[in-house]
Amino acid sequence: MGLLTRDFETAPCLVEVSHCFDSLHAHVKFLNGAVINPGDEVQVQGPPVMAPYGEVVREERIARISRASKIEQLWTRMTGDFEFMELCEFSFSEEVSV
């Protein structure tokens, strides 16, 4: 990992998207044990994984991991905490204003 530069790698992954009444979720699991650190970016390659309503779709895909630079990782560690409001049901969305 560079101080200022990003590194890239790819990792096989299992994508699970559930679009069911019982469970709405979408998860990515790396199959090669790749570990994600603060500030890293992950993009699953290929077309969007579309689960029709009532179904669970599991697909093996390749994910591209863009590793954060040392500086960016530090920055994310210092500031990431302030995004906690996202967990609240009344968190902000952009659409509505008074």
Binding site: L24, P38, V44, E86, C88, S91
Partner: protein, 371 residues
Amino acid sequence: MKDLTHSADAATVEEALAASNHQGIVDSEGATALAMQNTLLTPRFYTTDFDELDAIDVSSVREDWDTLIAQMKSDPNKGHFKKNEDWDHIDWENMEPRLKAEFIDFLVSSCTAEFSGCVLYKEMKRRGNNEDIVTLFQLMARDEARHAGFINDALREAGIAVNLGFLTQKKKYTYFRPKFIYYATYLSEKIGYARYITIYRHLEKNPEHRFHPIFKWFKEWCNDEFSHGEAFALLMKTDPKLTQSFTNKLWIKFFLTAVYSTMYVRDHQRPAFHAALGVDPDWYAHEVFTKTSEISKQVFPLTLDIDNPRWERGLKKLQRANADLAEAKASGNVFKRLGAMARAATAFVGLYTIPAVKHDVPVSTRLEPAY
């Protein structure tokens, strides 16, 4: 291939892309862009210090812990989140547009929050090695995904497709310190409980204001939130420093102030929604803060002085600054924007510096939903 009007009803990817809401898309890039427009779901992704999480030892609260986990495993709400004859038909077409917009916004932000919780808990479950912790997060991820699914269904009725195609978009992992996860999620679960139960009890007394059947499900729903909060209360109990050290008390006060004031500002942005429920947002905020403060005494050694006249004044200032900020953003007026930001910051500092109410934390942490 079936002739569909909406991709949400599709059985295959091909059908989804052929549905009328996808018309005009010729390339995959365009398809993704449109899918994301429909999605509305843009959860955050988190990492944390997983070694620190693994190091938690719940033996000091073992009895309470095992009881809580057993209760969650027995899954008392399994089967609750099903539509039955109580699910009345809603005439979305003729709903007053402003109310419809605010209500959909309410459902979408609820769904996103449940979904974000699910992503966070699942990540912790996956990367943790401590059996107690992993079990807890697995159970919580289950509940959050179930709630998200239920809200999603209500949205589908309104013709809103929630698409989960965001995984193929670039997503950045942010970072939460474990203790901040405890404070933030504890509070979000408990305030979630207080919010849902307050609306539920209000509508019990005033059923004529129940303009959508989803509110009938709020009681069991918020009992899940309550148990999740209980688990975090026990986790914080395992390490007294988390709630007793000078610095951490300041953090707790910060989280309380941030969560309460965000809720206040946010709710005041939905006047039509609250009017339809027959709820005065000021009354509602005070009611929710009172309940949340009472509950949070189980683990936090301080509560905010919400009856201090500075509190109400500060919230109103923050609310006005925020409305001006939104207006300045829309009009692109940089000076107005900076001014509004400065006023919001000052209002927040004003709220934060109101002396807190200190009290002793009980030896036994566990509570049952009582409202």
